[in-house]
C-alpha cells in the first residue's frame, strides 16, 4: 500500500483568502459551491423562484382583487349577498352542483373500488385497465363527447326514441343534470383512486379481527371498513368539490349560465372586467379556502397497514346469478367507459353538416383530417398549441424542478410560502388564472418587462405555465422524496461542486419523474381550453378554442377530428409516462384533466 506515503492532492488553500479582491472573489465562489448549510446559498436559489411565483401567481391574484374593488366594487360584492340576482344564484348553483357532484362521484367511485378490489369476476381486469379513460379526455372534448352521447340531440336518447317509437328523445340529459353526468364520469376517479389505495393499504387482519370477535358483515363494513376509509373519502370529497367549482366546459356545453365560471366568462366577454374580477376573486377565495382545508386535513393521520406479509384477498363470486349479473355489468361498464372516445372517433370521420336528426352520422369521410393537415389556416391552431405548450413546459420544468429542490432540500426562511404559492396555482380555477393575468398584465408591469401582455401571444404560454407548474412541481417533488439526500452528499464529499452533484446525481435520478411531469404539463397544454378561451386572439387560437368555434358553426366532424388528434396525443403520452413511472403518481395525475 502506498496511500500512506502519497501526498494528498494539494489542499486548495488560498493564502490570500480574506485579503483583497481575489480573496473576496474566492470566498464568494466558495459560498456558491458551498454546502446547502452555507448561510445565504439557499436564498440565492430561492429568491428568483419566489419572484417568479410572486410575479405570475400571487401578484396577479391581488391585481384581480384591486380591479374588482375599483369603481362600484362594493356593489359588486354586495350582489352576492342580496336575495335575488345573478351573482347570488350563481354562487348557490355552483356550490349546489359541486355538492351534488361529490355525492354522485362518491357513490360511483367507492362502489367501483369495492367491486374491483374486493371481488373477483369475469371482466374485472379489463375494467380496471380502462377505468380512467373518460377522465383522461381533455376537458372540452370530454364534455363534447358526453353532449353527443346523452343530450337531447345525443346518440342514446335518439336511439331509445327510435327503438321505442316515441315522439321525443328518451332520457335526455340537459342543464344541471347534464353537467352532473359529465362531472360524475370525469371526476369519480378521485374517489375510485383514493378508496382503492386506502383499501389496498388497509390491514386485512383488522377486518378479520372484527369477524373473529363475532361481527356480522354489515357491521364490519359499518364499524370498521367505512371509518378506516374516512380520511381517503374526505380528501377525495374536497378534491371533487374544488374541481367541480372550477368546472367550466360542462356548464358551457349544457347551457347552465348561472355558475361562477360561466359568469366570469360572460362578464369578461361583455367587457365588464370589474364584475368578472369580482366573480374571480370570490371563486378564488373559495378555492383557496378549500386548498387550506385539504392541507390541514392531509396533515392528520391516515390508516395504513401495519402487519406485513398478509395482503387483501378478493372474494370469488360463486353464485351463478351473481356471476351472470357481474358479466352483464362488466360489459355495460366497458361500453359506457369507452363510449366517449368511440363517439369522438366515429364523429371525426363524419361529413360536416350531414348529421342532423339521425341516431348516428350517415356519411363518412377522411376529409376532416386531410383538411386539417393540408389547409395552413386549419393547421395553425395545432401549431399554436404545440408552440405554446412547449414554451410553457420548458418554463414549468426549470421553475418546477428548482422549487421542488428548494422546498424539499434546503432550509430557509419562507420555504413554506414557496410551497403554498405553487399549491395556490394548483387551486385556482383556469378561468380565475386567466382573469388574474388579464388584470395584472393589461398594463405594463415589471414582470412583463413593461409590456402589455393582454392580446399578445405571450399571455397564453404564461397562463399555461401558471396552470401546469404544479404538475411538474409535484412529480419532481415526489421523485426527490424517494432520493436519499446522502446520495448528493456522497457526491459532494467526493469533491463534486453543488452544481455538479445536482446535475450528475440528483437531477439525473429525478429525471424519470421530471419527464413524466413535463409530458403531463405538455398534454395538458395541448388540451387547455378553460383559460385559453378568455385570453386568445385570432392568431393565437389553440386547438380547443378552434374545436369550440367549429362546434358553434356546426362543423362537428372537423371539431371531432381535432379532438381525436388531442386524444391520440394524450394516450401516447400516458403510455409513455406509465412506462416511466409504472403506474405511479402519473396515473393519478391523469385525473386532473377534469375541468
Amino acid at each position: 500500500m502506498t496511500v500512506a506515503t502519497t501526498a494528498p492532492p494539494t489542499p486548495r488553500t488560498d493564502p490570500a483568502a480574506g485579503t483583497g479582491r481575489t480573496g473576496r472573489a474566492r470566498r464568494l465562489a466558495d459560498r456558491l459551491r458551498g454546502g446547502s448549510d452555507g448561510g445565504w446559498f439557499p436564498y440565492l436559489l430561492a429568491l428568483p423562484l419566489a419572484l417568479v411565483l410572486w410575479g405570475y401567481v400571487v401578484q396577479p391574484m391581488l391585481a384581480t382583487f384591486v380591479e374588482s374593488a375599483g369603481g362600484d366594487g362594493v356593489d359588486n360584492y354586495l350582489a352576492f349577498l342580496s336575495g335575488s340576482g345573478v351573482a347570488r344564484s350563481s354562487l348557490l348553483t355552483s356550490l349546489g352542483i359541486s355538492a351534488a357532484s361529490v355525492l354522485c362521484c362518491g357513490v360511483v367511485g367507492v362502489g367501483m373500488a369495492f367491486l374491483l378490489k374486493r371481488f373477483a369476476f369475469p371482466g374485472r381486469r379489463l375494467i380496471e385497465a380502462i377505468i380512467l379513460v373518460p377522465a383522461a379526455l381533455p376537458p372540452l372534448i370530454g364534455a363534447i363527447s358526453f353532449q353527443l352521447l346523452y343530450s337531447e340531440t345525443g346518440i342514446l336518447p335518439r336511439g331509445l326514441q327510435h327503438l321505442l317509437g316515441t315522439d321525443e328523445p328518451v332520457l335526455p340529459f340537459d342543464g344541471i343534470a347534464g353537467v352532473l353526468v359529465v362531472h360524475t364520469f370525469t371526476m369519480y376517479p378521485f374517489f375510485y383512486l383514493a378508496a382503492s389505495a386506502a383499501l389496498a393499504g388497509m390491514d386485512p387482519s383488522v377486518e378479520e379481527a372484527a369477524y373473529n370477535l363475532g361481527a356480522s358483515r354489515v357491521r364490519v363494513w359499518r364499524t370498521v371498513l367505512l371509518p378506516m376509509l374516512t380520511p381517503a373519502l374526505v380528501s377525495a370529497s374536497l378534491l371533487v368539490f374544488m374541481t367541480s367549482l372550477a368546472s367550466y366546459t360542462a356548464p358551457l356545453l349544457f347551457g347552465v349560465d348561472r355558475t361562477m365560471t360561466m359568469q366570469i366568462y360572460i362578464n369578461r366577454t361583455n367587457g365588464d372586467l370589474p364584475m368578472a374580477s369580482t366573480y374571480a376573486s370570490v371563486l378564488g377565495v373559495v378555492s383557496v379556502l378549500f386548498l387550506l382545508g385539504m392541507r390541514w386535513y392531509e396533515g392528520r393521520r391516515s390508516y395504513r397497514s401495519q402487519s406485513k406479509g398478509i395482503s387483501t384477498h378478493r372474494r370469488e363470486i360463486r353464485n351463478p346469478v351473481g356471476r351472470w349479473l357481474a358479466l352483464v355489468g362488466s360489459v355495460l361498464a366497458t361500453v359506457v367507459l369507452l363510449a366517449p372516445v368511440a363517439t369522438i372517433a366515429l364523429v371525426a370521420f363524419s361529413v360536416d353538416g350531414s348529421w342532423t336528426t339521425q341516431v348516428l352520422p350517415t356519411d363518412y369521410t377522411t376529409q376532416n383530417f386531410v383538411r386539417i393537415f393540408a389547409d395552413p389556416r386549419a393547421f395553425q391552431p395545432i401549431l399554436n398549441s404545440l408552440r405554446m405548450s412547449l414554451l410553457a413546459t420548458a418554463a414549468c420544468v426549470v421553475v418546477g424542478v428548482l422549487v421542488a429542490y428548494a422546498v424539499r432540500r434546503l432550509t430557509f426562511v419562507g420555504r413554506g410560502l414557496l410551497d403554498v404559492a405553487v399549491m395556490l396555482a394548483w387551486a385556482l380555477p383556469g378561468t380565475v388564472v386567466a382573469i388574474n393575468l388579464i388584470a395584472a398584465f393589461s398594463t405594463g408591469s415589471p414582470f412583463s418587462l413593461g409590456q402589455v401582455l393582454v392580446g399578445t401571444f405571450w399571455i397564453m404560454p404564461l397562463a399555461y405555465f401558471v396552470r401546469f407548474l404544479p404538475l411538474v412541481f409535484r412529480s419532481s417533488s415526489a421523485a426527490l422524496a424517494q432520493l436519499d439526500p446522502s446520495l448528493e452528499e456522497a457526491a459532494r464529499n467526493l469533491g463534486a461542486s453543488w452544481l455538479r452533484a445536482f446535475v450528475s446525481i440528483t437531477l439525473r435520478l429525478m429525471f424519470p419523474g421530471v419527464l413524466a411531469g413535463a409530458l403531463l404539463a405538455f398534454v395538458h397544454g395541448v388540451g387547455e381550453f378553460v383559460a385559453s378561451v378568455l385570453i386568445y386572439t385570432a392568431s393565437t387560437a389553440p386547438i380547443s378554442v378552434e374545436i369550440n368555434n367549429r362546434m358553434y358553426s356546426f362543423e362537428v366532424g372537423t371539431a371531432a377530428a381535432y379532438g381525436m388528434l388531442q386524444v391520440v396525443l394524450i394516450f401516447v403520452v400516458m403510455v409513455m409516462s406509465g412506462r416511466l413511472e409504472r403506474g405511479g403518481p402519473t396515473a393519478r395525475e391523469a385525473t386532473r384533466w377534469t375541468n
Binding site: 492532492p9 486548495r12 436519499d484 452528499e489 456522497a490 467526493l494 469533491g495
Partner: protein
C-alpha cells in the same frame, strides 16, 4: 497523513431548543482510528457532518493539520465518507461509483482504471466492476462504499455507522476488515457508532458523547477501567454505580463506607472535588464483584432477587439495603436461588470514583 482538531465547536439548529453539539474540543492524531461513541441524539453524527462540511459550526474552529477548514464547502475538504446507508449512486455501475471521485479529480483513462481495480481488490470485490448496484448484497454494497471513499486517497476517512445495516456475523467480519484496510492505508479515520462493543474492538481512542458534549476521551482500556462519569460507566459495558458516604478525601483517593459498615480506599480522578461527609459515586464492574457467605464481616450482605444463567457467567441481581447490584459470576459452585442471602466482596482495586 493529517490530524483533525476541533476547537470549542458548537452547533445549534434554528428552531431546535439547545445545542446539538455543545463546545466540543477534540484532537485526533494523524493515522489514528478515532471513534465518536454515544447513544442516538448525542451529537456524534452532527459532529462528523461538521468535519465533512455538510454542516458549518455555529461557533468554534475545525482544522485539518494546520489548515482551517471551518467554513470550507464539503467538496473541497478532501475527506472520504462512508454513509450509513452507503449512498451508492444507483444509476452507475460499481466501477463508475468508485471512479466518481477520480473523475472529479480529473484522473482518467488507464490511471483511473488501475486505481479503481486496486481499490476493488482491497475490499475483495475484484471483477465486480461492471455489476449494477442492485445486484450486490448489503455487505458488498458496504465494501463498494468503502472503496469509493478510499480510492480518492482522502486526507481523512469518515465512517457514519457503516455497519448498522449488516447482520451480526457480517458486522464482526467487516469491522476486522475495515480496521485492516485502515491500518494498511495508515489513514486518519473518524468512526461514528452507538455500539460500544464495536467501538472498543476497533478504536485507538474513543470519545464518549452524551447530550451534545464529550464526556470522556481515551483508549478503550482507559474508558473501560477509568470511566469519567456515571453515564460513561454505565454506557460502556455494564457497571454498578454506588452512592457512598465519604469518610476522608485526598488528592487521588477517597475513603468511603460501604453499606454494612466496611470501608474502602478508592482511587479517584484528579479534581474530583469531594470532601469529607460528601457522597461519592463509585463504580464497579459486575465481573469484579466476588461472592461469599452472608456472614463475612468485610462483605456487603444482600438478598438475591434474580438469577440469569447465560452459559459463560451467571448474572445475579442482588438487593443490598435497597440498592440493586448486578454481579457476573464465573463458575458458581452451587446454583444460587432467588431469595438466598449472600455476601458480596468488593475489591478496592476494582473500584473507581466517577463524576455524576
Amino acid at each position: 497523513m493529517i490530524g483533525v482538531t476541533l476547537e470549542s465547536v458548537s452547533k445549534r439548529f434554528p428552531g431546535a431548543g439547545g445545542a446539538a453539539v455543545d463546545d466540543v474540543d477534540l484532537s485526533i492524531e494523524a493515522g489514528e482510528f478515532f471513534t465518536l461513541l454515544g447513544p442516538s441524539g448525542c451529537g456524534k453524527t452532527t459532529t462528523l457532518r461538521m468535519i465533512a462540511g455538510f454542516y458549518f459550526p455555529s461557533s468554534g474552529r475545525i482544522r485539518f493539520g494546520d489548515e482551517d477548514v471551518t467554513r470550507k464547502p464539503p467538496n473541497r475538504r478532501d475527506t472520504g465518507m462512508v454513509f450509513q446507508n452507503y449512498a451508492l449512486f444507483p444509476h452507475l455501475t460499481v466501477a463508475q461509483n468508485v471512479g466518481y471521485g477520480l473523475k472529479i479529480r480529473k484522473i482518467r483513462g488507464a490511471e483511473a482504471r488501475r486505481r479503481i481495480d486496486e481499490a476493488l481488490r482491497q475490499v475483495h470485490l475484484d471483477g465486480y466492476g461492471d455489476r449494477r448496484i442492485d445486484q450486490l448484497s448489503g455487505g458488498q454494497q458496504q465494501r463498494v462504499a468503502l472503496a469509493r471513499a478510499l480510492v480518492i486517497r482522502p486526507r481523512t476517512l469518515l465512517l457514519d455507522e457503516p455497519l448498522s445495516n449488516l447482520d451480526a456475523k457480517l458486522r464482526e467480519e467487516t469491522r476486522t476488515e475495515i480496521r485492516r484496510i485502515q491500518r494498511e492505508a495508515g489513514i486518519t479515520s473518524i468512526y461514528v457508532t452507538h455500539d460500544q462493543a464495536e467501538a472498543m474492538a476497533m478504536s485507538d481512542r474513543i470519545a464518549v458523547m452524551e447530550g451534545g458534549r464529550v464526556r470522556q476521551v481515551g483508549t478503550p482500556r482507559e474508558i473501560y477501567h477509568r470511566p469519567a462519569t456515571a453515564f460513561v460507566a454505565r454506557f460502556i459495558g455494564r457497571s454498578n454505580v454506588l452512592e457512598l458516604p465519604v469518610l476522608a478525601a485526598r488528592a487521588d483517593s477517597v475513603d468511603v463506607r460501604l453499606p454494612g459498615g466496611a470501608t474502602r480506599t478508592v482511587a479517584a480522578p484528579a479534581e474530583h472535588g469531594l470532601t469529607e461527609s460528601a457522597r461519592a459515586l463509585v463504580s464497579i464492574r459486575p465481573e469484579h464483584i466476588g461472592l461469599c457467605g452472608p456472614e463475612d464481616p468485610d462483605a456487603l450482605p444482600g438478598r438475591i432477587t434474580d438469577v440469569e444463567f447465560t452459559g459463560m457467567t451467571t448474572n445475579l441481581t442482588v438487593d443490598v439495603s435497597g440498592q440493586e447490584l448486578t454481579v457476573a459470576a464465573v463458575d458458581v459452585p452451587d446454583a444460587p436461588a432467588v431469595g438466598d442471602r449472600i455476601g458480596l466482596r468488593l475489591p478496592a482495586a476494582r473500584m473507581w470514583v466517577v463524576r455524576p
